[in-house]
């Protein structure tokens, strides 16, 4: 009985979360004639023309590439600086541990809409408007607090004696970080990296504001610009939305196993 209740609960939550996605799927394979009519609830005929249109009518591959570069770059920067900061805070015993963490958190309290204008001016002044670098820097900055927090709590769990041992064995602090601490923190890096990547992959406001042409446009902005003068191509929007979910989906599946493995392998207990 309790078991049944558990499954029912899981089913409800799953249905709630997946319904929009399912509707997108249904929409993406409808024929144009059935797109805006109800009934039928399910398409009477399945078509892939919207998928084809995504690739023929729009610079979709270019947008995908831009999104990959931006999300990948932001992830790399956030992880590099986040790991260094977390290491300094937890293992090198930087002064003002709590104050620094609080300050880091405070910077992420600003809603994006409140800083998009000043940031736009800054990006413009730096000559970075309509470049991928503008988005990479912005996303890395926005996700750095998250990276620092997650990695700090992760590194704190690693025994201090490991860092001491590395130093006595002849490591500089940087060597200890790269050769001993980071390999052991791999599950934390993967988890943090995923969060940063997904944020950057999906971000819309800054991407819309800082980009002007398809040279630097990312997928979310690109899809938002699908609607033409006279019609909204719902089928194409649904198809494109589903397509951009695939890489994130694959990434999460691929690394989720690694996170779990890392946590259960007893890597920390020497």
């Amino acid at each position: 009985m309790r078991r049944a209740a558990t499954y029912l609960g899981v089913l409800v939550v799953a249905a709630y979360c997946l319904a929009p996605l399912a509707w997108q799927l249904v929409t993406s394979v409808r024929t144009p004639a059935e797109l805006t009519t109800l009934p039928p609830l399910l398409p009477t005929r399945i078509t892939i023309e919207h998928y084809a249109a995504v690739f023929t009518g729009h610079p979709f591959p270019r947008m995908l590439l831009n999104s990959f570069v931006v999300a990948g770059g932001a992830t790399a920067i956030a992880l590099a600086f986040g790991a260094a900061a977390a290491f300094a805070l937890t293992k090198m015993r930087a002064r003002g541990f709590g104050a620094i963490l609080a300050l880091v958190l405070a910077t992420s309290m600003f809603p994006p809409i409140s800083i998009v204008s000043p940031l736009y001016l800054l990006i413009n002044a730096l000559g970075l408007r309509d470049t991928l670098a503008a988005l990479i820097l912005t996303y890395a900055g926005f996700t750095l607090p998250l990276a620092i927090w997650v990695l700090t709590s992760f590194l704190r769990e690693l025994p201090d004696e490991l860092y001491s041992a590395a130093r006595v064995d002849g490591c500089t602090p940087r060597q200890a970080l790269v050769r001993v601490i980071l390999p052991l923190a791999a599950p934390g890096l993967v988890a943090t990296g995923l969060l940063v990547f997904i944020f950057a992959w999906n971000e819309f406001l800054f991407a819309l504001t800082f980009t002007a042409t398809e040279r630097s446009r990312t997928v979310p902005v690109g899809i938002a610009l699908f609607p033409g003068l006279h019609e909204v191509p719902w089928g194409e929007i649904a198809a494109a939305s589903l397509l951009v979910t695939v890489p994130v989906f694959v990434l999460v599946l691929r690394f989720q196993r690694r996170i779990v493995e890392g946590l259960t392998a007893g890597a920390v207990k020497g």
Binding site: P159, E161, L162, S164, A165, A166, R167, V168, D169, G170, C171, T172, Q175, V180, P183, L184, A265, G266, A267, V268, K269, G270
Partner: protein, 344 residues
């Protein structure tokens, strides 16, 4: 190899003084042990030698050269940690070879050195394994190997045997002594186990609350403890302390009053029988008897104070009854009641 000199070294963490004005010299090639209860500052002392901590004041010298400005990696010191602190993501061979790799040794050289150390420690067959696949004793050996592989000037051991079971501990203790004899490296050992300290060391420093209570060869500490702390800490079971007024025929130095004195006598020196013809034996009620094989330790209650002595297994006094506790007058230690210092 190096001699290590502490010149008035103090260490404070915030308001807490962990080490107070430490002054002593550890000789080249010596096996030196810091022993004391937890929180006495012994592990901090090791961290100071390794350079993991800096003294708040005072200086540390290796062979007369100040090392306070040197990072751990520049001190040529190796350390075995209580938890062993093996690198979980490296194989045994990589763990042992890591210090050499960091020093830029050639791969061939590293392989040879690792093989040599592994042979000496009897862990040749484990080289490909990961630390988590090893038993406690095997991890201990790997940690030793990682420390010994580069033949450091100073070898530091922080409670290395405390995570092993009793039998393995005895085995590793002998192993440590053998390795010290073989390599001859100045070794600084930290433990809370006085028996370990006695068995291994050339000299022992007893630490209490950040101060050295006494420093000397193990037998000196045992036979001539400088104060009641050392007397009570060294030796097992610990020394009995009795009010001097309970002990008949006590010879005191002149100008020392009876009520200023505490008498110490080791349980091994107290003979317990049900009927003794020694007229100076003390009568005490027997609380319990603990057989250990060759001996039986008998705990008695004497005027509200505990006294422990030794009985023959063939003549164990019955708990609840009265037994006679006898000891020779020349086996007594006298301490000043107020200061705890040794009188005679």
């Amino acid at each position: 190899m190096a001699a290590i000199e502490f010149d008035g070294v103090s260490k404070r963490f915030g308001q807490v003084t962990v080490l107070e004005d430490l002054r002593l010299t550890i000789e080249e090639g010596e096996f030196f042990t810091f022993v004391g209860p937890s929180g006495c500052g012994k592990s901090t002392t090791l961290s100071l030698i390794a350079g993991l901590e800096r003294p708040t004041s005072g200086r540390i010298r290796f062979d007369g050269e100040p090392v306070d400005h040197l990072a751990p990696r520049d001190r040529d010191v190796a350390m075995v940690f209580q938890s062993y602190a093996l690198y979980p993501h490296m194989s045994v061979a990589e763990n042992i070879g890591f210090p050499l790799k960091l020093r830029g040794a050639a791969p061939r050289e590293i392989d040879d050195a690792v093989a040599e150390v592994a042979r000496r420690l009897g862990i040749e067959t484990l080289l490909a394994r990961r630390p988590r696949e090893l038993s406690g004793g095997q991890r201990q050996r790997v940690a030793l190997g990682r420390a010994l592989v580069r033949r450091p000037r100073v070898f530091l051991l922080d409670e290395p045997l405390s995570n092993l079971d009793a039998r393995l501990r005895l085995e590793m203790r002998a192993e440590l002594k053998r390795l010290h004899g073989e390599y001859g490296i100045t070794t600084v050992y930290v433990t809370h186990d006085q028996e370990e300290a006695m068995a291994l060391s050339d000299r022992v420093a007893v630490l209490n609350a950040g101060r050295v209570e006494q420093c000397g060869p193990p037998l000196e500490l045992y036979h001539a403890p400088a104060n009641t702390f050392v007397a009570g800490f060294v030796g097992s079971p610990p020394m009995n302390f009795l009010d001097a007024r309970l002990v008949p025929d006590l010879e005191l130095p002149r100008d020392v009053a009876l009520d200023e004195v505490v008498v110490g006598v080791r349980p091994t020196d107290v003979r317990v029988t049900e009927a003794s013809d020694d007229p100076r034996a003390l009568d005490a009620r027997v609380l319990l008897a603990e057989p250990t094989g060759d001996d039986v330790w008998v705990v008695g209650l004497l005027e509200g104070e505990r006294i422990v002595g030794r009985a023959l297994p063939s003549a164990v006094p019955v708990p609840g009854g009265i037994a006679r506790f006898a000891f020779a007058r020349e086996r007594l230690h006298l301490f000043d009641r107020a200061s705890g210092r040794r009188i005679a």
